[in-house]
């Protein structure tokens, strides 16, 4: 409890991070309760097409087919965040396992895994994601898979680096000497000490995943049954001149979310690694 209070004290010093947290919390609230406020189906062609925003009926306007942009954004928050979080969770899960094994056991295992990781890192990741989604048919599953596939190497490297350092720490060696199993050492001794940088990079990875999803959607590789922000922009990119609001508001939602996640990530980084904390805040 004291640790938490201490953490919050350090986190609070970064004003941007606090703003980010507030924004992110609001977005999460919208994602959770938005459908209550906007109970309509986001796909319903509720009004006339191309209604300007700030009207009484459609506060953020309507799109090409007369669908309400505000409803789309509220429902899209769920999809975009879901994709971001699930993809990150998958990437972090795989990355931790691979990185932990490589970093803890070292030697040949490490060599092999690192070659594989380097290999995946060499491939231009977005190009790779495009190929994967195209091949496995655009859908929420393939999008999440593709993002996870291109994201795990970074986590693996990070975790491996942490493990390589921590493995030589004396408390780890003490555990070895005491006869603890590798599993215990990896998960009880080392991992909790490596978790801060993982959390920080995971928060940034959620942001990146949302961006990647939106880019895929923009290229027409989104899930046709999921109204995500990226899908909204992708679908209305050709009307950007005719009805700026159809891509502006979802775009703004992405920017705000990604921005908030980045700010929170920075705040976490400051608060979790006081040594690296930024000056003058």
């Amino acid at each position: 409890m004291a640790a938490l209070r201490d953490f919050w004290r350090r986190y609070r010093r970064n004003k941007g991070a606090v703003v980010g947290l507030v924004v992110l919390a609001s977005i999460l609230l919208v994602a959770a309760f938005g459908p209550v406020i906007y109970p309509g189906n986001p796909w319903d062609m509720a009004g006339a097409p191309f209604q300007s925003p700030f009207g009484a009926e459609n506060p953020l306007g309507t799109d090409t087919l007369g669908r309400d942009v505000a409803t789309g954004i509220v429902h899209g928050a769920r999809v975009s965040l879901l994709i971001g979080f699930v993809a990150t969770l998958a990437a972090v899960g795989v990355g931790i396992c691979v990185g932990a094994v490589a970093g803890y056991f070292g030697g040949r295992v490490d060599d092999l895994i690192m070659r594989l990781t380097e290999f995946f890192q060499t491939i231009p990741s977005f190009v790779f994601a495009v190929v994967l989604v195209a091949i496995f048919t655009p859908g929420i599953g393939s999008i999440v898979t593709a993002i996870a596939v291109v994201s795990w190497p970074a986590v693996a490297r990070l975790v491996r680096g942490e493990f390589l350092t921590l493995r030589t720490r004396e408390f780890v060696q003490a555990s070895v000497v005491l006869g603890r199993s590798a599993r215990h050492i990896i998960f009880v001794e080392i991992l909790p000490n490596a978790i801060s940088p993982i959390i920080v990079s995971a928060s940034l990875m959620v942001a990146t995943a949302i961006l990647v999803e939106s880019s895929l959607s923009f290229l027409g590789l989104g899930d046709p049954n999921m109204m995500s922000w990226g899908y909204m922009i992708g679908a209305s990119r050709s009307v950007v001149r005719l009805a700026w609001w159809t891509s502006f508001f979802p775009g703004l939602a992405i920017v705000l979310t990604v921005l908030a996640l980045n700010l929170v990530g920075e705040g976490l980084s400051d608060a979790l690694n006081p040594r690296l904390s930024r000056e003058g805040r």
């Binding site: 231009p124 190009v127 003058g280």
Partner: protein
């Protein structure tokens, strides 16, 4: 001598990675659903079994997968990247045509973003904690958080449609007779928006990296040593902090060259830039296998080459690097 050995070793390693990429992509794409012969037949507007057979035979699609792979790898070694079914041309020609525009675009964006990013990062670090630092950080974060295509779309809306200052698409005016210098200026004008779009995002990345790196370096012991020698702050920044801070930024920038190439898919699509990114996107949609493989190989080779170059430059600049160690 050591350096040559190092380069040779890195090149060899790069080739191995490249071969791995060939195999991976080949398998991924060949095993995917979709019969290329049918696509070609579809494009023709009609299809019959005879025609499909003809196409399969002609392009070796009826042979076992392993044989196709082997033939492909063997061909790669002789710089034969195969034939594009869809475009009816050798893939090498396509790549050769599309590579220079992409290199121009990504190269410009790389240089611009690095220059702008490092400058901003240094400015922010020098003003750490002041409002101008926050302002720079907010701007950088904003572009970092903005989807590339959105920046592109908004750029077109503002500079091409509303203001009419810059062309919105293409790599040059067509149908106008232009002299050498005029042509360069013309291409330059077309380059502005797509390059700027790519630049803004990466500039933000580099600015943030530079700032963090600067703040880390300026607290290091040798900077204190320089102060103890009575060296002025400006000179400390130039001679001690900058070099040590920028080196890792440039290295990481080199390693992330793949992100620029990935971003060029989106940007080249938005701006009708006739480069390899758009070729890749079209190839994916049309399942133009050989083109896709070729694009992958070339982009991966580019990334490997850039990585190698950064490694070598790093080894030249940083004396601590015991080559190969």
């Amino acid at each position: 001598m050591e350096r040559l050995e190092f380069i040779a070793q890195r090149t060899l390693k790069g080739i191995v990675v490249l071969l791995g990429i060939v195999v991976l992509n080949f398998l991924l794409i060949r095993l995917a659903p979709g019969d290329p012969a049918a696509v070609m037949a579809g494009e023709a507007g009609a299809s019959d079994e005879l025609f499909l057979q003809q196409l399969r035979q002609q392009f070796g699609l009826d042979r076992p997968l392993l044989e196709q792979l082997w033939a492909y790898v063997a061909n790669i070694l002789s710089f034969d990247f195969g034939f594009s079914y869809r475009q009816q041309r050798p893939v090498v020609d396509l790549l050769a045509e599309r590579l220079p525009p992409t290199l121009l675009l990504t190269g410009t964006a790389f240089v611009l973003s690095l220059a702008a990013g490092v400058t901003l990062g240094v400015m922010a670090a020098r003003r750490a904690g002041r409002w101008s630092d926050s302002a720079i950080t907010v701007v950088a974060l904003f572009f970092y958080a903005t989807p590339l295509f959105w920046v592109g779309l908004m750029g077109v809306l503002l500079f091409s449609v509303t203001l009419g200052w810059l062309p919105a698409f293409g790599m040059g005016s067509v149908g106008v007779k232009l002299g050498g210098v005029e042509r360069v200026i013309d291409v330059g004008r077309h380059l502005v928006l797509p390059a700027l779009t790519l630049t803004l995002f990466h500039m933000a990345v580099y600015a943030r990296m530079t700032r963090a790196s600067m703040l880390e370096v300026r607290d290091q012991d040798f900077v204190r040593t320089a102060r103890a020698k009575g060296v002025g702050e400006g000179e400390i920044l130039r001679r001690h902090v900058l070099r040590n801070a920028i080196l890792p930024v440039v290295t990481i920038a080199g390693m992330k060259a793949g992100y620029l190439l990935g971003g060029s898919i989106v940007v080249e699509t938005v701006f009708a830039w006739p480069g390899i990114g758009r070729l890749a996107y079209e190839a994916v949609l049309q399942r133009d296998y050989n083109v896709l493989l070729g694009v992958f190989l070339v982009t991966s080779a580019l990334v490997i080459a850039v990585n190698l170059a950064t490694d070598v430059i790093y080894s030249l600049v940083d004396p601590r690097i015991e080559l190969g160690a």
